[in-house]
């Protein structure tokens, strides 16, 4: 962790979701003239200790600039299953130590790395200067605001629609459920743990809300007008043939939950959720941007990462999102307003193919 950029307000801790990106950035840093094969990279990748890869400078629309850095954990995309968690958690803790050593005021934990803060014991926010946040509140905010926007684009009324949340018992999934409770006609909850799922449904029903739950996705898919996919891993049993023709899908997983053929009807109905756009722009130094963080739209970033940036812009060095099930609709509005103040808002609709081209109304 020798790299010591000055004046670090925030740190972004993350991991890559595919080997293509990894090969791209390892090639960039290795400066190998012939490039490294994916096979070669895969042999060494998960043994590399966490380290700072680049500085990030973000420009707010109200004139502020903050500097931070990105710390890669080198967690292998092939090792996200529970049997690798112990090793991965050690990597996240080592990355957190990097953030502390740099004196970052706040650090966001992206993707899988947020697991360290979602447990019962917060092992990171132990009184040291650097505060750690999962970034889940802003991710949830971008998911729900984008979905509301999508409904407006397609001239659909939330109150008439049934919303399916896949991964409904997770931190972001349950926040989305709570946000849309009372706003949609029916909540359909899907998750792997049946007992937890039933508790959630019972709690909603006690509030007089209409909700049903199942661990079997196939029973819920045909009813859904809106889908938020936010499971911690891919959803191989997602059968697009069971979906309604006019369904709107928000895939907010990291790695992405759904593998769908974009030649089908979904190309203008599925968007990648939880993403934000920085209107003032951002820069990476060294400029590894095109090898690592490429989207069909400029200045896009993940909501979880942007939460750390927003907190740094606000000089609000606090573990804004920590624990599990603590994200309330009020918290979603609070972080969303803070982000908007700096020109950071939900990203325009895009998916793995390109930016959305919604039909003319």
């Amino acid at each position: 962790m020798g790299y010591q950029p000055a004046d670090i307000a925030f740190a972004l801790i993350g991991h890559q979701d595919c080997w293509k990106k990894i090969t791209g950035f390892v090639d960039f840093f290795s400066k190998s003239p012939q490039g490294l094969s994916a096979e070669k990279v895969a042999q060494v990748y998960s043994f590399i200790p966490p380290r700072v890869l680049f500085d990030v400078v973000v420009q707010s629309v109200i004139g502020q600039r903050v500097k931070g850095c990105y710390i890669e954990t080198f967690i292998s995309p092939d090792e996200l299953a529970p049997r690798h968690w112990k090793k991965n958690i050690e990597k996240v803790k080592a990355a957190a130590a990097c953030a502390r050593k740099l004196g970052a005021g706040v650090a966001s934990l992206g993707g899988f790395t947020s697991i360290v803060l979602e447990g019962r014991n917060d092992a990171l926010n132990d009184g040291a200067f650097t505060k750690f946040t999962t970034g889940n509140s802003l991710t949830a905010a971008f998911i729900v605001k984008a979905l509301e926007k999508a409904c407006i684009k397609f001239d659909r009324q939330l109150a008439d629609l049934q919303l399916l949340v896949i991964g409904a018992t997770g931190d972001i999934g349950s926040a989305c459920v709570e946000y849309f409770a009372g706003k949609v006609k029916n909540l359909l909850l899907c998750a792997r743990q049946n007992a937890t799922l039933q508790q959630h449904v019972l709690a909603l029903q006690k509030k007089g809300l209409q909700a049903e739950a199942s661990t079997d996705l196939a029973t819920l898919l045909p009813q859904a007008d809106l889908i938020i996919a936010i499971a911690s891993s891919g959803i191989p049993n997602f059968n697009p043939l069971l979906c309604r023709k006019d369904v709107i899908i928000c895939d907010a997983g990291y790695p992405r939950n759904l593998v769908l053929e974009f030649g089908n009807d979904f190309k203008d109905r599925l968007f990648y959720g939880g993403m934000g756009v920085i209107k003032g722009g951002y820069t990476f130094s060294p400029a590894v941007h095109h090898n690592l963080y490429k989207f069909p739209i400029n200045n896009v970033a993940h909501g979880c990462m942007l939460e750390g940036i927003v907190l740094a812009l606000e000089k609000l060095y606090t573990p804004f999102s920590a624990g599990r099930g603590n994200i309330t609709p009020d918290k979603i509005e609070q972080i969303y307003l803070m982000a908007q103040k700096h020109g950071i808002t939900e990203a325009p609709f895009f998916n793995g193919l390109n930016a959305w081209q919604p039909p003319r109304l």
């Binding site: 020798g2 790299y3 840093f29 290795s30 400066k31 060494v44 043994f47 060294p286």
Partner: protein, 249 residues
């Protein structure tokens, strides 16, 4: 650090005895090279206390070699001790090149960072795999002792970095490619292209799984410790990333 599940087969099987003998041969030859490297290091320093420390470290490596020889003898394992080992000869000669230039810092980088990181990590992995045997316990104990050599170097090298940031990083890079390339070739994932002349029969790498080890994890853990050590010294993380990804695999 990644862990491996030890197979712990009975010590009397031929396969087990063969792999133990090869692992011990590699360790003994490595310790002897370490011993002669530290002895050579005395010629590169003026300070008498530093010289005495070099001799102390050389003696420490000698004791490690002697302990490995003794445990091999006790278990009746035929070890091969040679000054002609393909990779260990290259390591010794490379160290000699830096010692001949009286470059104390380069020698410290090579011996106390690069070679000791490999020793500490690989001894630890072997020790855990053979933990139920006296051989395994010896590897674990020596791994702990070798850690002290790494610790010894870190403060010295941090001070060097402080004095001349760019010059020091350039030196580490040169020593890295000089020495780590040899270790990377020795620990390549496929059997060695040139026989190492230390393994008794064919390359031991193929047989490592029989004691619950594999070369990818052994090598990966060693690289991990090496990179962490360079991080602690203060080398920029993206530099070591560049250096390590350019090594032969």
């Amino acid at each position: 650090m990644q862990t491996m599940t030890a197979a712990q087969p009975a010590i009397c099987t031929h396969e087990f005895r063969s792999i133990c003998a090869d692992v011990l041969s590699q360790a003994i030859n490595g310790e002897i090279v370490g011993m002669s490297n530290f002895a050579k290091l005395t010629g590169t320093v003026d300070d008498v206390h530093e010289r005495m420390e070099c001799i102390e470290h050389a003696n420490c490596e000698r004791n490690h070699a002697a302990a490995f020889i003794a445990v091999a003898k006790k278990n009746n394992l035929p070890v091969l001790i040679t000054s002609d080992g393909t990779y260990w000869t290259r390591v010794r000669e490379t160290f000699g090149k830096w010692a001949d230039k009286n470059d104390f810092i380069a020698c410290i980088i090579m011996q106390e960072v690069i070679l000791e990181c490999f020793a500490v990590s690989m001894y630890n992995d072997v020790g855990k795999a053979l933990a139920s045997t006296a051989i395994g316990q010896l590897f674990l104990a020596i791994s702990k002792e070798e850690e002290e050599h790494i610790e010894h170097s870190i403060e010295i090298l941090q001070a060097e970095l402080e004095k001349d940031h760019e010059g020091f990083i350039n030196k580490v890079e040169k020593v890295h490619y000089d020495c780590m390339t040899i270790l990377a070739e020795w620990s390549m994932l496929r059997p060695c292209e040139d026989h190492c002349l230390v393994c008794a029969g064919q390359c031991m790498k193929d047989n490592l799984p029989s004691i619950g080890l594999n070369i990818q994890v052994l090598r990966g853990n060693a690289m991990n410790l090496y990179m962490k050590t360079l991080d602690r010294i203060g080398i920029p993380g993206i530099k070591t990333l560049e250096w390590v990804t350019n090594l032969p695999i």
